[in-house]
Amino acid sequence: MIDNNQLLRFTTAGSVDDGKSTLIGRLLYDSKSIFEDQLASIENTSKKKGHDGVDLALFTDGLRDEREQGITIDVAYRYFTTPKRKFIIADTPGHIQYTRNMVTGASTANVATILIDARHGVIEQTKRHAFIASLLQIPHIIVCVNKMDLVDFSEDVFNNIVSEFEEISSKLLVKDVRFIPMSALLGDNVVNKSENMPWYQGAPMLHTLETMHISSDINKVDARFPVQTVIRPQRDGFIDYRGYAGRVASGILRTGDEVTVMPSGFTSKIKSINLHDKELDEAYAPMSVSITLEDDIDISRGDMIVRSNNKPEPSQDVEVMLCWLNNSPAKPRAKYTIKHTSNDQKAMIKEVVYKYDINTLDRNNEDSNLAMNDIAKVKIRTTKPLMIDAYRENRTTGSIILVDDTTNETVAAGMIV
């Protein structure tokens, strides 16, 4: 049993042409994560379609429309476990018209894998994927230079692509980038080390994913505890119990800590931390616990418990990088519900500061329309203060979504600047 193993979430962006589905299929197949009935069903379909051998790409088949069109539209989640880690793949489409799905898949990822076709090198799509990874502050990037078999496993081709990519990534906020030359079709450097590329000294993809250091991906400095709900059992033995239930967003909370409740500003000390019937000395992100305080304070959903010596900034004017997710464009000066941790308020987009051209990554100051897949820096005004941190320091207290009250749909996602 793999008791102390961590969970790693990674995202793959790409289209069928990049060999993304083949790569995922290869990863699952060579790590023996595919079951016999799945394999039999795919062998069957491969034969029907007239393919030679098993088409590994069929493993990532999804909804009926996607099967018919041979594309990924929505994010699909896939799972596999090795003796070292459990993995969740957020498998997303790669085309520009699905930017919003890429953003969705990237929002929870520890690692982004970016596929490059070795024959074509860095193209616009590569830039876009790198941009999204940096925008969503994915801590690690693995650049998979795929289809090396079609360029004679050439080291020069690989090195050129590495320098091309580094040219873009130097302009983006990405910390940890690794490059792996591979052939997903033949299995080179996916799970097993390639015999065709002895010049590559690094590890294959799976080993890289298994050994990457991810414990530091979560902010452990700023203790933030958004209250989801208040637990009041009203039953024998617990008549006076008032537990504040939530998931630690970041940092560490300990019993006895001096805490401040935002936005009210009341202070108290942590009396107990509970997980079910266990009493804990401390809780850290991303643990779900219940907290009780020494003093009776009015606390409800939407409030945030923080350590008194390290508080987020209460603010009604928020600058965010916003990705528009909905078919209907943003309405100027319309009111939306803004959701930030467990706090819901009304908000208005006051100004579009600039918009990105997602192909060139140039900023456009003239165009202030926000349509589906657009990414723009905007200023938002809220009716009551939010307790915010910058997204680059805190992915949980630095993120928001906007909901259109007339449709109830989630129309935008934002990263607080």
Binding site: I2, R67, Y79, S215, S288
Partner: protein
Amino acid sequence: MSKYYLNYLDELESEAIFVLREVWAQFENPVILFSGGKDSILVTHLAKKAFYPAKIPFPLMHVDTGHNFPETIEFRDNIIKELGAQLIVGSVQESIDEGRVAEEKGKNATRNALQITTLLDAIEANKIDCAIGGGRRDEEKARAKERFFSHRDDFGQWDPKNQRPELWNIFNGKHFEGEHFRAFPISNWTEMDVWNYIKRENIAIPSLYFAHEREVVWRQESWIPNSEFLVLEDHEEIVTKKIRFRTLGDITITGGVESDADTLEKIAAEVAGMRNTERGNRSDDKRSESAMEDRKRQGYF
């Protein structure tokens, strides 16, 4: 390495508890869909943890096809008593008697698809705005596309092509009157994770999951249990085998596997070595490539 990280089971548990608390905070009248299978038992266990020391603050709802394993019903009634929870039963037999649905005909007839109407009727009758299910994304390709908070229109239908984007851990449960949500707290768990966790927490599950002697018949690549609903074909023969079930559905469609695994340890070890998916033994999924997607669109679990 710093000690401040969770192992994967603790992280999955924490995520599920977070989702359950969001459901409670965002909806007026949620229920847990309880089938008596291991996944809904797991969700119930997680709900117990999420709201302790309070009781689970919402009822359990069972869609009863009438084609149950007797063991499942006994287990259900015990757990309700133990939790002090309220039970809501939606009865497929009543839906048939009232003419809301018609029994399927033919040799592979089941009540599986009939549950959809009973489920949606029960949701409407009880004014339920969120039904919490034990669906997991690893079970099936249509389920791989599910959100944690999944919107259903006022006909109870799922529109997989037009789902609300779900980013970070911010869930949007806003809906209009008559619409409802399905919530899936254990979306990210695999079958193996479920068994490892059940073993770790020593969660009680129905005896059907453990190897036992049973009268069965070999049909569609698995051992279908003998019951009052079974209609034998000419070439078929009832035999007694030591089997266990990997999933529990209706007694008419749930196939068992031959097994000696009679403890949680042995089950977990057996599942780890399994070379077929768990739904491979469910004839409801074998009907077509998109059997699950089609049912889910209509409002299935």
